[in-house]
């Protein structure tokens, strides 16, 4: 090197020229743990703690009985009594069947709606496609708890607005407090995410593949059957499994609509056993139900994983992709558009309006002339002075920020190790990170509850126990998102940094983090929103000291204060819909999930 000034020789120790003789320093280099090994070990340890610990407790507590309190503590004994109780009672089978009917029913409705919208927006020339897209996705900002509350206001048998109308015109009523009612509301809640999951792959599907079939003489129906559907199958199956877990794990709809109608599903059974109206909680019994629910959720997932194989999980699209041609709807264009808009009005606008209306009523009692005369903003003024509201808002923000940042940091680490490491043992990490995806939230809540009731850590009853439970719940989502992001950044960019003399730590700060920053923020926002909307965990782990907005809304509603619940619901919906809109700046939402 002559052109530039001489640089001091870089760090490697001066080794003797004969390779066989090694200096002490060389040995230290050889033995030193490489950065990625440390990270892998760290990631596995944290995941084992977050996922393994609670599950272990859940399993042991299933086989324990203690009349006075906790499993695995003084006075508890090993027994199969819980199993016998659960499987010996006909009640269990009834609950199981109700759960399945509820889940499958809402899945069918949600998928029909979501598929129709995906097809209309991505594959036809329906007008105002971008507007439709935004309007279908926007309800994802409305927490399921709030959707349930507003449908209770719309469809309850006594003064539900729609029922009032139906009764006046047709003389019939449709109660929200019934299985069909629950199915409908759960489906409304699932449509936005289902739509997002499907529409992405429908959009990125390579039109050339369909053109090729066209050129080979296949008619349109055969193209759909032989090319489009098979190509869409992994996405459809993935969305189906994901939403199935969603529909069996949530307590929102079963609590708000099922409880008044005496319709019990597995998640509410677990909740009722840990939070009985009277008497002591039965942790052994609820653990057994938890295990049952876990198996129910895990089954389809394992089948799916086998069918798809983990290879496709982080697959990225390469090569030249041509957008498929749009189908001309002809004279059906406008009717289809009106149909689509009607769905949006019914599923999103109506619930939103009734909430606002209920929030300005002294006590909601249907929509009629008298009610319009009583409009007042009292509750909007007074609610802020109630002690728990301030605390709930503070807790919600704390929870959201800590969970989103913490989970995403952990997820980046895990995802990087999974995508980049070439160790034979990475499947352990992959599996551990994937597990929470399959564990129903209510089960995570229960296990975390048990764990920290027993561990001598001062976490039980504080907001931190919810932080831990939610981090466990969302680490799969985070890992999935970051895995895709890291898989898209070429590994040579990191190798080039290493070849430029950058150690692992500096590769992270100067190359990896800057490159994945947009996906990171997007993921954090998504987790923040999910954390705010989540009711199951705050409720399962609730104490007077750790109330958040969602559990507060449920509390007020359950306590018979619909106006307060409505005010808080409107506030919360406003916040979460805004966040939903922020995800990749409005139209960019299309790239998420």
């Amino acid at each position: 090197m002559t052109l530039l000034q001489d640089s001091p020789p870089s760090e490697p120790p001066a080794a003797p020229s004969r390779p066989r003789h090694l200096s002490l320093l060389d040995n230290i280099y050889a033995r030193r743990l490489r950065g990625r090994t440390v990270m892998a070990i760290l990631a596995i340890a944290v995941l084992l703690y977050l996922v393994g610990g609670p599950l272990f407790i859940l399993a042991t507590s299933t086989f324990q009985k203690n009349e006075f309190g906790l499993p695995l503590s003084a006075g508890s004994r090993w027994t199969t009594e819980n199993i016998q109780t659960v499987f010996g009672s006909s009640e269990t089978y009834h609950v199981l069947i109700t759960t399945l009917l509820f889940a499958l029913g809402s899945l069918i409705v949600a998928f029909i709606v979501a598929l129709s919208f995906s097809w209309l927006i991505e594959r036809t020339n329906i007008p105002c496609r971008n507007l439709l897209f935004v309007l279908v996705v926007a309800p994802s900002g409305m927490p399921l708890l709030i959707t349930s509350i507003s449908w209770s206001l719309l469809l309850n048998p006594t003064n539900g607005v729609i029922n009032q109308f139906l009764h006046a015109v047709l003389g019939i009523k449709f109660s929200a407090y019934s299985l069909p009612g629950m199915i409908l509301v759960q489906a409304f809640g699932m449509v936005p995410l289902t739509f997002l999951l499907i529409t992405g792959s429908l959009r990125s599907m390579n039109g050339v593949l369909e053109d090729a079939a066209d050129a080979s003489g296949a008619n349109r129906w055969r193209i759909v059957r032989k090319i489009t559907l098979p190509l869409l199958t992994p996405a459809l199956l993935g969305a189906l499994i994901y939403e199935f877990v969603n529909s069996v794990e949530n307590v929102d709809v079963p609590l708000v609509l099922g409880l008044p109608g005496h319709i019990t599903v597995l998640s509410t059974t677990i909740f009722n056993n840990t939070h009985p109206a009277t008497g002591l909680p039965d942790y052994g019994l609820s653990s057994t139900y938890g295990l049952l629910l876990l198996i129910l959720a895990l089954g389809p997932l394992i089948v799916y994983d086998r069918a798809i194989g983990s290879g496709g999980k982080y697959a990225t699209i390469t090569g030249r992709v041509r957008r498929p041609t749009r189908i001309d709807l002809g004279r059906w264009r406008i009717p289809m558009f009106i149909g689509a808009m009607s769905y949006i009005v019914v599923s999103f606008l109506l619930p939103l309006l009734i909430l606002i209306f209920a929030s300005v009523q002294p006590f909601y009692s249907g929509v009629n002339k008298a009610a319009f005369g009583k409009v007042t903003l009292n509750e909007w003024r007074n609610i802020w002075h109630t002690g728990s509201v301030g605390m709930a808002i503070k807790n919600t923000i704390l929870l959201g920020v800590v969970v989103s940042v913490g989970t995403m940091l952990l997820s980046v680490m895990i995802a990087w190790v999974i995508v980049r490491a070439r160790s034979r043992f990475i499947w352990i990490l992959d599996l551990l990170a994937f597990m929470p995806h399959a564990i129903p939230g209510v089960v995570i809540g229960l296990s975390v509850l048990l764990l920290y009731l027993m561990l001598p850590l001062p976490i039980y009853g504080t907001i931190w126990i919810i932080v831990i439970a939610q981090s466990t719940l969302y680490v799969s989502l985070g890992t999935r998102l970051m895995g895709a992001a890291i898989a898209q950044t070429q590994v040579v960019l990191e190798e080039a940094a290493a070849a430029s003399g950058a150690p692992m730590r500096r590769i992270w700060f100067r190359v990896i983090i800057p490159l994945i920053r947009p996906s990171f923020f997007n993921g954090a926002l998504l987790v923040f929103m999910a954390s705010m909307q989540n009711l199951t965990l705050p409720l399962m782990l609730s104490s007077p000291g750790n109330v958040v907005l969602s559990s507060l809304i449920w509390d007020r509603w359950n306590y018979g204060l619909p106006t307060q619940a409505a005010v808080l619901s409107v506030v919360m919906t406003a916040i979460t819909v805004t966040i939903a809109a922020l995800l990749r700046g409005g139209s960019g939402t299309r790239d998420t999930v």
Partner: protein, 373 residues
């Protein structure tokens, strides 16, 4: 001259490659200081793996690697990539899209110390580098706003700016189009000459290998099959494989008829009975050749001469018929049927041959290489 790189008994098998043969079987070579050393071979022969082992991006199963005075790989040592004194250029540029051109080049300099380096200090080294690459005007651009050739130049500047002991190039020109590739080839050679940096270059393009290298090692299935200077490889390949790899070739199979005595220049006359008739070859190798052995004769298309009328010289003249002529600017490539076989013959544009012309094909004996089989 001192040895700048020494690779000894390098062996590597990828995990998860099943029972496939190892990516690198047993590779040893040395590169003298300031030399341009090329690993040439077909796709999948282990060139990249060898280079990545030198860079430390791959940890070989066994073997030793020494860079300058430092043993970087041995049974008990493994110096991680960032502690090796190397510069590397990757096939797909690998410029960092989130940095400007200046920042890309400055990066290796920043990595030298843990404290913040002042930009004015960096400029002293970065700007001459950009100037050498003709990139000064792009200094403030995002790396992604460059054309392919500019990105390639940028990644070369980035590799060279830390004045590495060793420059490693993995098919740096293969993503460029033909014209740009030719231009960058020249530039690469110029820069390497100017900076006198020991270079290991990986390619499967014989023109790049022949034109740039001081020394070429030809790899096949994870092993080096022949190593030598470009001319030696081109004119005296050891095997059909090498002969075919370093340039277009006609291969004529036959049987050794007579083997002459070795003369003072180490050359012997070998007559081979082929489908064309007897082909006389001047063999400079030391391989064992006996009458009756199966063998093949290699001759380069541009070495074969073609005449309209019968030439006076009688040796290695065969009558053929022109099948096809492909005009390629600098010459014409013909397919000529001679007896039962077809020969590729490249001639200058000065004489025109037409389809179905009867021609006299002359194969100069000194251009024939014989391989025993």
């Amino acid at each position: 001259m001192t040895t700048a790189i020494e690779v000894r008994n390098l062996h590597h098998r990828y995990r998860g490659a099943g029972d496939h043969p190892p990516a690198v079987g047993d590779v040893s070579f040395e590169v003298e200081e300031n030399q341009f050393f090329t690993l040439l071979g077909p796709s999948g022969c282990g060139k990249t793996t060898t280079l990545r082992c030198i860079a430390g991006l791959e940890k070989p199963d066994s073997g030793e690697i020494r860079l300058g005075e430092v043993v970087v790989v041995s049974d008990r040592t493994f110096v991680p990539t960032h502690r090796r004194d190397i510069g590397m250029v990757f096939q797909d540029y690998a410029v960092w899209p989130h940095m400007t051109v200046f920042e890309n080049v400055a990066f290796p300099l920043r990595m030298r110390s843990n404290r913040r380096v002042r930009t004015s200090e960096l400029r002293k080294k970065v700007m001459p580098m950009l100037e050498m690459m003709g990139m000064t005007q792009f200094e403030k651009r995002r790396a992604t706003q460059l054309s392919g050739g500019q990105q390639q130049r940028l990644s070369l500047a980035r590799a060279l700016v830390r004045e590495p002991e060793v420059l490693l190039l993995d098919e740096p020109l293969s993503s460029l189009d033909a014209r740009l590739r030719a231009q960058m080839r020249t530039e690469l050679r110029r820069v390497q000459r100017q900076l006198k940096v020991t270079t290991v270059f990986v390619t499967h393009d014989q023109i790049e290998a022949l034109s740039l290298s001081n020394e070429i090692a030809v790899m096949q299935d994870g092993n080096i099959v022949q190593q030598g200077r470009p001319r030696d490889l081109y004119f005296h390949p050891d095997s059909e494989f090498v002969g075919n790899l370093v340039g277009a070739a006609n291969l004529i199979t036959g049987v050794v008829h007579t083997v002459g005595d070795v003369d003072s220049d180490g050359i012997r006359r070998v007559e081979v009975a082929t489908d064309l008739g007897t082909v006389v070859c001047e063999d400079a190798s030391e391989q064992a050749l006996n009458t009756g052995m199966n063998c093949s004769v290699l001759v380069r298309p541009e070495a074969v001469l073609m005449h309209h009328s019968e030439p006076e010289q009688r040796e290695n003249i065969f009558v053929g018929r022109v099948d096809l002529g492909l005009f390629i600017g600098e010459g014409v490539e013909h397919e000529v049927t001679v007896g039962p076989i077809g020969l590729k013959i490249k001639v200058p544009t000065s004489v025109r041959f037409r389809r179905d012309d009867k021609v006299y094909v002359e194969i100069p004996s000194k251009s024939c290489v014989v391989f025993a089989q």
